[in-house]
C-alpha cells in the first residue's frame, strides 16, 4: 500500500514538474510577445549593405589594361575581355568588356586581383530581370552606378549589426546617421597624446 502511494506521489510530482517546465517555456514565448519585432519589412525598410558588400561589379573602361587577370582568377573564367593589339602604341586596346551576372557568383576574386582597380564591387543586389540574357552586362552597363538605399525617400534604411553603436543589437530604434561602434584612429591618437601630456 505504502509503495503504491509513494508511486502515486512520484507520479503526481512528475506531472507537476512537467507542468512547471511547460509553463516556463510558455513564459519565454510570452515574453517574446512584448519585444519589438526584428523583421525588416522589405520594400519599405531596407538594410544598408555593408561597405565590403559584394554586389554587382562596377567597371571603369578607361583604367582597364586588358591584362586578363580577372579572367584567370575567376573560378569559371567568366569576364569576356575583347581587345586588339595596337601596333602603333604597342599596347592592347580594349574593345569591349562584359560579365554575365546570371553566371557570376560574386566571389570578388577579379576585384581583388585587378592590378589597376578598374573593377569594383557595388552595393546593388537586386538584379532580377524577366530574361536571363539581360543579365549579361557589357562595359556600358557595368559602368553604371547603383542607387543608394539611403537616398531613396520611399525607404527607411536600416543598418546591419556591425554598423550599430556599441551595445545596440537592433537597428529599428537607431537612426542611420548615428555613429557606429569603434573609435576613429584619430581619436585614439588624440587621447593617447592627451594622456602622455597629462
Amino acid at each position: 500500500m505504502m509503495k503504491f502511494l509513494s508511486k502515486v506521489g512520484d507520479y503526481a510530482k512528475d506531472a507537476v514538474q512537467a507542468a512547471k517546465y511547460i509553463a516556463q517555456g510558455m513564459a519565454v514565448t510570452f515574453d517574446h510577445m512584448q519585444r519589438r519585432p526584428i523583421t525588416v519589412r522589405y520594400p519599405y525598410e531596407k538594410l544598408i549593405p555593408s561597405e565590403r558588400f559584394r554586389g554587382r561589379i562596377h567597371f571603369e573602361f578607361d583604367k582597364c589594361i586588358s591584362c586578363e587577370v580577372c579572367v584567370r582568377v575567376c573560378p569559371i573564367n567568366l569576364p569576356v575581355v575583347d581587345w586588339e593589339y595596337n601596333a602603333e602604341i604597342k599596347k592592347k586596346e580594349l574593345k569591349s568588356y562584359s560579365i554575365d551576372f546570371g553566371v557570376c557568383i560574386f566571389c570578388g576574386n577579379c576585384v581583388e586581383y585587378c592590378p589597376t582597380n578598374c573593377l569594383s564591387m557595388t552595393e546593388e543586389y537586386d538584379l532580377s530581370t524577366f530574361d536571363r540574357h539581360e543579365l549579361n552586362f557589357d562595359n556600358v552597363a557595368l559602368g553604371r552606378l547603383p542607387t543608394k538605399v539611403t537616398d531613396d525617400p520611399m525607404v527607411t534604411p536600416l543598418r546591419e549589426l556591425a554598423y550599430l553603436p556599441k551595445g545596440v543589437m537592433e537597428p529599428h530604434a537607431v537612426d542611420h546617421t548615428e555613429r557606429r561602434a569603434g573609435k576613429l584612429p584619430v581619436e585614439i591618437i588624440e587621447s593617447a597624446q592627451e594622456q602622455s601630456e597629462s
Binding site: 511547460i22 510558455m26 519565454v28 514565448t29 510570452f30 517574446h32 510577445m33 519585432p37 526584428i38
Partner: protein, 371 residues
C-alpha cells in the same frame, strides 16, 4: 434567472403584424441557425487571425499587417483564395468519399454549436442531453477523417486518418469523464443548467475551483481532440506530410481548415461553459443591479446583462484559444505511442479518480458540490 426571450418577443412582434403564431414560429426557425453559422464562422476566422498574430508575436515577427487594419482582412482573403482555388481530386482516389469526408467533419463540428449557449436564452436548442450530445456528435468526425484518409489513396493520408481516428476516440473517454464530473455536480446535462449552477458568487463559484483536476484533464483532452500541437500527430508535417489533408486543396481543404478552427472555438466555448462559468461575470451581476437600484426585469438592464454575458463568454473562450495558440508555438509534438500512453495510462485513471472523488465530495459536502 430569466434573461430576455428573443423568440417570444419575435413571435409577439410578428403576431402584432397580423401573422398567426405558428407562421411566426416557422419564420423564427431559420434565424438562429443562420446566426449560429455566422457566429461560428466569424469565431473560426478570428481564431485563424489570432493564430497568425500570436504566433508572429511569439516569434518576434509582425504577421499580417497590410491587409486591413492589423491584417484583419487576412482571414477573409484566405477564404476567398481557397474558394476560387481549383479543387483537385487525385486521379487514383475515390472521388465520392474524397468529397464527402471533409463535409462530414465540417458538419459534425457545426452541429455541436446547437447546444452552446451564449446567454440564458441565447441558445438554439436547450436539449436535455446537452453536453452528452456535443461529445456524441464530435465522435462522428473520425469517420470523416478516416474517409478522407482512405479515399486519398495515399499512404500518408491513410496513416494520418487512422492516427486521427485513434487519437480522437482515445481522448473522448477522458474528455467525457471530466465532463461527467461537472455534470455530476450540476445534476444536469444541459449546458444552461451547468452554467446556472456556477452562478451566485461570481468567480468563486466557477467550476474550475471545484474541479481543478478535471479542468486540466479537459483542457488536455480538448487540445488532443482539436489536433493541435503538441497533439497534432495526424498532420505532423515532418512525419506524414500533412496527414489526411495531404491531397486536399481548394474548397475541400477549406472545410478541413475551417472545421479545425471551428472545433477549437467550440472547445474553447465548452471550457468556458463547463469550468469558467459561461456567461457569468467574475462578480455576481444581480448584486450590481441591486446596488444600482435597477429592477432586474427592466428590458434595458436585461439587454445590458445579455451583452455583458456574450462578451464574457467570448472573452473566456478567446483566453483559452490564446493559451492553446501560445502552447502550440511553444512545445514540440509528442510521439503517437506517447500520445496514446498519455490518454490511456494517465488521463483515463486520473479522470476516473477525479470522478470518484467528486462523487465522494458531493456526498460529503452537498452544499459546495451540488447536493
Amino acid at each position: 434567472m430569466n434573461g430576455i426571450d428573443l423568440q417570444q418577443s419575435f413571435v409577439e412582434l410578428l403576431a402584432g403584424l397580423g401573422l398567426t403564431p405558428a407562421v411566426a414560429r416557422a419564420l423564427w426557425m431559420p434565424l438562429p441557425m443562420l446566426l449560429v453559422i455566422l457566429v461560428v464562422t466569424v469565431g473560426a476566422l478570428a481564431s485563424t487571425w489570432l493564430e497568425r498574430k500570436i504566433s508572429a508575436a511569439a516569434q518576434q515577427r509582425i504577421g499580417p499587417e497590410y491587409a486591413g487594419p492589423f491584417g484583419l482582412a487576412i482571414p477573409a482573403a484566405d477564404v476567398v483564395k481557397l474558394l476560387i482555388k481549383q479543387t483537385t481530386i487525385p486521379a487514383q482516389s475515390d472521388p465520392l468519399l474524397f468529397v464527402i469526408g471533409p463535409v462530414i467533419v465540417f458538419i459534425s463540428v457545426f452541429l455541436s454549436f446547437l447546444v452552446i449557449p451564449f446567454g440564458q436564452n441565447l441558445v438554439i436548442s436547450d436539449v436535455g442531453t446537452g453536453v452528452f450530445l456535443v461529445i456524441a456528435i464530435s465522435s462522428i468526425a473520425p469517420i470523416g477523417l478516416l474517409m478522407a484518409g482512405y479515399s486519398s489513396n495515399n499512404k500518408y493520408s491513410l496513416l494520418g486518418g487512422l492516427r486521427a481516428a485513434a487519437q480522437s476516440i482515445s481522448y473522448e473517454i477522458p474528455l467525457a469523464l471530466a465532463a461527467l464530473a461537472v455534470v455530476m455536480m450540476s445534476n444536469n446535462l444541459s449546458t444552461i443548467d451547468i452554467v446556472n449552477q456556477q452562478a451566485g458568487l461570481g468567480i468563486l463559484s466557477w467550476n474550475v475551483w471545484r474541479q481543478p483536476i478535471g479542468f486540466v484533464i479537459f483542457m488536455i483532452a480538448v487540445l488532443a481532440e482539436c489536433e493541435r500541437i503538441p497533439f497534432d500527430l495526424p498532420e505532423a508535417e515532418e512525419e506524414l506530410v500533412a496527414g489526411y489533408q495531404t491531397e486536399y486543396s481548394g474548397v475541400n481543404f477549406m472545410l478541413f481548415y475551417g472545421a479545425s478552427y471551428a472545433n477549437l472555438f467550440l472547445s474553447a466555448l465548452l471550457v468556458a461553459i463547463l469550468y469558467l462559468g459561461g456567461w457569468e461575470l467574475p462578480f455576481p451581476i444581480d448584486r450590481v443591479a441591486e446596488v444600482l437600484r435597477i429592477p432586474e426585469s427592466s428590458s434595458i438592464w436585461q439587454i445590458v446583462a445579455a451583452f455583458l454575458g456574450i462578451t464574457m463568454i467570448l472573452l473566456k473562450a478567446f483566453a483559452f484559444i490564446f493559451l492553446a495558440i501560445l502552447l502550440r508555438w511553444t512545445v514540440p509534438r509528442v510521439r503517437i505511442d506517447q500520445l496514446l500512453d498519455l490518454g490511456w495510462k494517465f488521463l483515463l485513471p486520473i479522470g476516473l479518480g477525479n470522478l470518484l472523488i467528486t462523487a465522494a465530495l458531493k456526498l460529503a459536502f452537498p452544499v459546495a458540490f451540488g447536493g
